[in-house]
Amino acid sequence: MSGWEVVIGLEIHAQLATRSKIFSGSSTAYGSAPNTQANLVDLAYPGVLPVLNEEALRMAVKFGLAIGAAIAPRSIFARKNYFYPDLPKGYQISQYEQPVVGKGAITIMLDDGAVKTVGITRAHLEEDAGKSLHEGLPNASGIDLNRAGTPLLEIVSEPDMRSAKEAVAYMKKVHTLVRYLEICDGNMQEGSFRCDANVSVRPAGTPKFGTRAEIKNLNSFRFVEKAIQYEVARQIELIESGGKVVQETRLYDSDKNETRSMRSKEEANDYRYFPDPDLLPVEIDEKFVGSVRGTLPELPDEKAARFARDFGLTAYDAGVLSASREMGAFFESVVEALGAPHAKLAAHWAMGELSSALNRDGVEIAHSRVSPAALAGLLKRIVDETISGKIAKDVFEAMWSDGKPADAIIEAQGLRQITDTGAIEGVIDSVIAANPKQLAEYRSGKDKLFGFFVGQVMKATGGKANPAQLNELLKVKLAVGPS
């Protein structure tokens, strides 16, 4: 790979979270019985006409504003003509020459913490096609048009990414953004968020782009990374062995982890784009843009900056905690209950115990079994030294599994820290008395045995002795020795 530069651009298709389709009143809900969400417009019956769903337009504008793009005062829907059974009209309504969203940009954070800007060429509205089904249908194809006419926002990036990792970071950032904006549910299994990757390589330092291949329909971050890595290796190997990359569309086979040619440029359709005469040009005035601007939430970058500034979090932690609106809100609720001076403790727990429990059980944060208030209740007990951080992890697990508040668990299981000096001293005395050999060794200079005594006391107290107090008292006792 050395000596080669990788050039990647992504076309992301985000399914817009409208209730009805982009040009018809049918529902967009996922998973219904085939063809139950296809009305006469979706079925392209003779005589029917499309009417633009204004909500889809609002969502596109919202995205445009969030990436600092110009919103076109006039955009055009065009027809992309081709025959396919899951395309009922024989053309897809899309935007071609005049998209609704113009040039914008998104910043991503690289592994080394550096920040990179990825240009967005345009974003346009279009309708999705239906699905062809072949399983269980010998000598026939089934057509499900439930998805036909679902609104999509196609987000086209500049060829600004230089590695598969950057491409994934960019895609994740767009994913974060569309979910923040509540314009896409981001569900990749259901295909609500997917991308095509344009990949090429060139000798490092050359200004001209290499010939690119387009890998179609990647619907997981892992597949994006793997497919690009495979494709880059394929292209380099091909060129180094004297071959030439041809411009073509390729499919990624995740089972075999390889890309395969689908069709070459020569076989590509002539889509005969022309303005759709059934739809008027979309005119957007300042008032409309202003009304959409008023609905913009705090954006991920803004939130991360605020977390870093107000709570003293590292850029990385601030980024993780602002990666979803829900996580950001959870974290902020915990901080609110706990007090800003303890924000770092809240961050540590949100990113640690909470996130692992959510991931382990596959639970969305919105349905977390430990609420922000409950987590704050637990962290308060660390702050006021009722329990140690170690015990707190056990309490958290108990809270997670039976949903009781921290205090109830601490009381019921007797987990309260022992902070009574006399009580701790008593335990220390008996431990020292029971281990004369270790005591002698310690006193003769084997300092490492201090840990042994700590462990013994903790064992005897069920881990409840206040660690700081224990350290202090133990030092004195070991030095002085029993009378």
Binding site: L40, L43, A44, Y45, P46, G47, V48, L49, P50, V51, L52, R79, N81, F83, P85, P88, K89, G90, Y91, S141, I143, D270, R272, Y273, F274, P277, D278, L279, L280
Partner: protein, 484 residues
């Protein structure tokens, strides 16, 4: 002799309970059964539904309800989707297609209490000027059954002329209401683009198509248009503007009306036709109108422009007829490609194929700019010509067609000659303007039409101007022999 009465007179008699809608409906059904076989104007008869609708209208009349069209029978062009009734669009492709819904204009006319007698023959997918491209065979002109009735609304024009219904509906993409109206001696109105909903009207060329009416007189047409017109949220190109009460505006004073005489409309016009148009203008001046000669320099480019724009749009609009979901499907397709090729190859007739091929060509990479974009530019120039003309005059008058009805078979094998028949009507479609054709005389026993074109949304003015002419003349009352 109920078929000789105007819609206004029929409505008066219905309201006075002198006649019933059922009686009226039976009268026209009987005429269709008797007279249609020699005309082939009606391709689907919906007698049972008609009788039921007539009874329903009679109940409404009995309950005291009144309406200009309540209880009045009609025939719909078979391009309009009609719920539960075959909607063929004159094509084998849709010979088996029972529409599951009503077009908006069908709904509106139904709600007004009209009674659909049946569906009228038409050129396949409205592509034709003679009604010879229909899968159901040519329609005969009632004035001379060896002649064409015009097209594409030829079934509607012949049915109106033969008095098979008080009025018929039609569509006009390049003259398809006005040209057949002229060739059969009836009054045809093509409204402003966007005035009448296109929802449920099977698309030929979306940016040009407009629904309208063919009737005996401007007065009758005004009553129908008042019901058909209006905004439809299901058609993005329909215009949300109030609909004037056309019948109430018919008698607006004509005096001082400035009529433009289109120089380009007299180029290549048969001299006897030209003479009739000049006579008609004489009628107007005698009523106090003023005539001014105006020019539309780009109008001669309208036919080539139209034959780029319309096929481009139709090539895409007709892609949905693929044999998959509805309509004709070939026998035993061996694969997907075969299904497409044979379903479309067997389902479409030659004229439709010619236009799909032309349209596909002009939209193709490498030809798009030279044809489609260029045509759009010329279209704007023609629109600008009309706009400039309407700064000087209130409306323009000229012939509707270059010649009266021609013989069946005379032009069908020569598409270009056929296309030139629409030379005077296409301009209004390209510019989205309203136009009317009204009878203004006869040449060799065949009717000749005068065309009036006005600015956008000037239907009231055009209908009034045609109405004044029809009060001064009786050409529109002439009925072909055998159909009196």
């Amino acid at each position: 002799m109920l078929h000789t009465l105007s819609i206004g007179e029929l409505a008066r008699r219905l309201a006075a309970r002198e006649i019933s809608s059922l009686e009226l409906t039976r009268h026209f059904l009987e005429r269709i059964e008797r007279l249609n076989p020699s005309l082939n104007a009606v391709i689907t008869l919906t007698a049972d539904q008609a009788l039921a609708a007539a009874r329903a209208a009679d109940l409404r009349l009995g309950a005291g309800e009144r309406g200009r069209l309540l209880g009045i029978p009609l025939i719909h062009k078979d391009i309009f989707c009609t719920d539960g009734v075959r909607t063929s669009c004159g094509s084998r492709m849709l010979d088996n297609f029972i529409s599951p819904y009503d077009a908006t204009i069908v709904t509106r006319l139904k709600a007004a209490g009209t009674v659909m007698l049946g569906k009228s023959n038409m050129d396949e997918f409205a592509m034709g000027s003679s009604n010879e491209t229909s899968y159901y065979g040519p329609v005969k002109n009632p004035w001379d059954t060896t002649k064409v009735p015009g097209g594409s609304s030829g079934g509607s024009s012949a049915a109106s002329a033969a008095r098979l219904a008080p009025f018929t509906t039609g569509t006009d993409t390049g003259g398809s209401i006005r040209q057949p109206a002229a060739l059969t001696g009836v009054t045809g109105v093509k409204p402003t683009y966007g005035r009448v909903s296109r929802y449920g009207m099977i698309a030929f060329a979306s940016s040009l198509d407009q629904a309208g009416v063919l009737a005996r007189s401007a007065e009758d047409a005004a009553a129908v248009l008042a019901v058909m017109a209006g905004f439809d949220p299901r058609d993005s190109t329909s215009v949300d503007a109030p609909v004037p009460d056309y019948p109430a505006l018919l008698d607006a004073p004509l005096k001082g009306l400035k009529i433009g005489l289109l120089r380009e409309f007299f180029d290549g016009l048969e001299s006897r036709n030209a003479a009739l148009i000049r006579e008609a203008l004489g009628v107007y001046t005698s009523m106090g109108a003023e005539t001014v000669e105006v020019s539309l320099p780009h109008l001669p480019l309208s036919v080539p422009t139209y034959y780029v724009v319309a096929p481009a749009e139709c090539s895409s609009n007709l892609s949905r007829f693929d044999g998959v979901r509805f309509g004709y499907r070939c026998e035993q397709p061996k694969d997907l490609k075969d299904l497409y090729e044979r379903s479309r190859g067997e389902g479409f007739g030659p004229e439709v194929k010619r236009r799909i091929m032309t349209g596909t060509y002009v939209l193709s990479a490498g030809y798009f700019d030279a044809y489609y974009l260029k045509a759009q530019k010329v279209r704007r120039l023609i629109t600008d010509d009309f706009r400039a003309a309407f700064e000087k005059v209130d409306l323009v008058v000229g012939p509707t067609t270059p010649t009266p009805a021609f013989a069946i078979g005379a032009k069908i094998d020569d598409p270009v000659t056929m296309y030139l028949n629409d030379i005077y009507t296409i301009g209004a479609n390209l510019a989205g303007l309203p136009g009317i054709s009204a009878p203004c005389g006869f040449v060799d026993g065949l009717p000749v039409g005068m065309q009036l074109i006005g600015p956008h949304f000037s239907e009231a003015r055009l209908l009034s101007a045609a109405h004044h002419f029809q009060r001064a003349t009786d050409w529109h009352l002439k009925t072909p022999g055998g159909y009196q």
